[in-house]
């Protein structure tokens, strides 16, 4: 891993089109701003890894296991997303 020290408002360039900026530092929390092309996904690592695991799990599913899905319903009211809706 490359380790660099940066202060607030300083930036790092990754490749030729990704810029990471230290927006704020408060206690043990750092706010990062990321400028990247729209086709490059940017996520908190733990979220990305959780999606990876979930996709790999899903990719093992067999049609036999889904036969009865038409008879199922959601277990509970869904916790809300936020903001304007689709």
């Amino acid at each position: 891993m490359l380790v660099l020290s940066r202060q607030r408002d300083e930036s790092i360039m990754i490749g030729d089109n990704i810029v990471v900026t230290i927006v704020d530092i408060r206690g043990d929390k750092v706010r990062l701003g990321i400028n990247a092309p729209s086709e490059v996904p940017v996520h908190r690592q733990e979220v990305y890894e959780a999606i990876q695991r979930e996709n790999l799990r899903a990719s093992r599913l067999d049609p036999d296991e889904t036969r009865d899905i038409g008879k199922l319903a959601g277990r509970r009211p869904m916790p809300g997303g936020d903001g304007p809706r689709r």
Partner: protein, 146 residues
């Protein structure tokens, strides 16, 4: 074109029906081309079959069939790579997995498809949405005792 699949055997698909996922999917980054198959025995379900890896397929459903109040906020940056300005033009699907005995839906990271452009992408929706939302057998309504 003819593709081999481990679940469905050999199937024929039109080149025009292939969906292009420019970044693949997390965990399946090398799978960039997919075909959306209907399940002939099950109208609640479809299968996203990789056209390059015969053993890779994902069961997908229309989320509102199971979660009628499913609402997502998708950041514009997630839609731009699909050449899509309006999320209304998208087809939204969620992936089915199994946790223990239950089938679950990934409501946090739905698949967005630009039907016209034949492109797709798995996006991360904002908000506190579950990645493994459990589906259960519907309980019959309770009857009042006499």
């Amino acid at each position: 074109m003819r593709i081999n699949t481990t679940r469905f055997g050999r199937i024929d698909i039109e080149a025009d029906d292939v969906l292009h996922f420019i970044s693949g999917l997390p965990g399946l980054e090398d799978c960039r081309e997919w075909a959306l198959l209907a399940d002939s025995t099950n109208d609640a379900l479809g299968w996203l079959q990789s056209t390059t890896r015969c053993d890779v397929a994902l069961a997908v459903v229309c989320p509102r069939r199971f979660v009628p109040d499913y609402q997502v906020r998708i950041p514009r940056s997630e839609l731009t790579p699909l050449a899509m300005r309006n999320v209304q033009d998208a087809q939204l699907l969620v992936i089915v997995a199994r946790h223990g005995k239950n089938l679950t839906l990934n409501l946090k990271a739905p698949i967005v498809i630009n039907v016209e452009a034949r492109t797709g992408r798995q996006v991360v929706a904002s908000g506190d949405l579950p990645m493994n939302y459990e589906l259960i057998h519907e309980r019959p309504p309770l009857k009042k005792s006499a």
